[in-house]
Amino acid sequence: MAQKKLGSQTVSFQNPPSILSTASIVGPKEGEGPLKDYFDLIIQDDSWGEDSWEKCESKLQIEAVRMAISSAKIVESQIDYLLAGDLLNQIIASSFSARQLQMPFLGLYGACSTMTESLSIGSMLIDGGYADKIVCATSSHFSTAERQYRFPLEHGNQRPLTSQWTVTGAGASVLSSSGGPPYITHVTTGKVIDPGIKDANNMGAAMAPAASDVIVQHFKDTGFKPTDYDLIITGDLASLGKEIAEDLIAQEGYNVSSVYSDCGIEIFDNEKQDTHAGGSGCGCSAVVFNGYIFKQLKQKKLNKVLLISTGALLSPTSTQQGESIPGIAHAVTISNKLD
């Protein structure tokens, strides 16, 4: 009998892991956005002195992990597991950074849902008694994503209005079996839901049903109400996806509008920065959580947050073969109080 299981998709932790510290590093464009004051490091050149975008993305991840570990005042050898993933084929940004970091490594793929996927698994490992200290990390880079999924950078094409801008950035969180608030108290693991959208430039609409499904399931499993939260924030649904998710959640009888936002909307000023529908990428919810939200929790400006990173599980091959885009989302409750 799974003692910590709550309802059909949620886990409630007996010894909720503490988030000891976090780190966020972003690229120059993100560093000009509305959340610029919350990031730990803004790089001035989007290759960060490396000779390929992929190497730069690995470096972002390595440095974010190291910064998070050092601000937790522990050493790298104390880390029991590194849980990381990214968008690149065969998750090379993560495995190549793990090659450098030399920690026991579990590579994850959940597209842009990786931040909450890693926090979910990390929390379960700690509460299960399998680890004391875990680092959860993820990254994305505008230029690595463009060349893998879309067009060469210098190609003179027009981006549709529903398209999103992949965030250049990496975020890392150190979870611990002991320590102060904030804590991860619940996780709700989402199902893959495919509403049949085939347009790879409209990922918000493709992921919104998965996000709203996991949010509604979270309320059903835990008995929480939207008003129990100070903030409910999805990963990268952006402007269109957020509107849809809100509608879908309302159809199930929950009104989240007063506390609901999306990391893809928060990170850029879409009008000024010309990012169309908003930000996307693993790095989007990673830097918004590890930069902005974590600091708000620490300062008690927010006390209970539901973070739902959202992933579009497509590949260039599946898109070219005319497949629709399956979506996934995982929800994590981060709270300053233990009930």
Partner: protein, 147 residues
């Protein structure tokens, strides 16, 4: 939410999605596309003033435009023009040059054989295949009709 009707959902999403700014795009395409053509004409007149005949000028003009487009691509400017102009800078021969130079630059890190040379045509390749293919077919039809 469990049983999303895909057709209904698509309709619903389309009703919510921001509408593309078609008129604005058309005007920009007209202006920039037109300017590129006027500039081409300027080159033709210029080289003809220097003594090239009409046939030679028809060769010199696209060569110059292709060079300038490749240069602007290399300087990171052509994508900025393309963002505003859309079809206005994609349809002229300068757009074709951009479509070849951009991937050649992008994939240089994968080497000169499997990167630059192999990936150079990932955007423009279909245009070459179907452009050359259809011109051969039209040529054959013309030949048969003439005979």
């Amino acid at each position: 939410m469990k049983n999303i009707n895909q057709k209904d959902y698509e309709k619903y999403v389309n009703s919510k999605a921001p509408k593309p700014t078609l008129l604005k795009n058309c005007i920009w395409a007209f202006i920039v596309g037109g300017l590129i053509c006027v500039f081409g004409q300027f080159i033709t007149n210029f080289v003809m003033d220097y003594g090239l005949d009409k046939k030679e000028a028809a060769t010199a003009t696209p060569i110059t435009l292709i060079f300038l487009s490749a240069l602007l691509t290399g300087l990171g400017l052509y994508d900025k023009i393309g963002k505003k102009a859309g079809a206005g800078s994609i349809v002229p021969i300068t757009g074709f040059a951009n479509a070849i130079v951009a991937p050649a630059m992008e994939f240089k890190r994968e080497g000169f054989v499997l990167g630059v040379a192999a990936k150079m045509f990932i955007v423009a390749g279909p245009v070459l295949v179907y452009g050359i293919g259809s011109s051969v077919i039209v040529g054959i039809i013309y030949l048969l009709l003439k005979a």
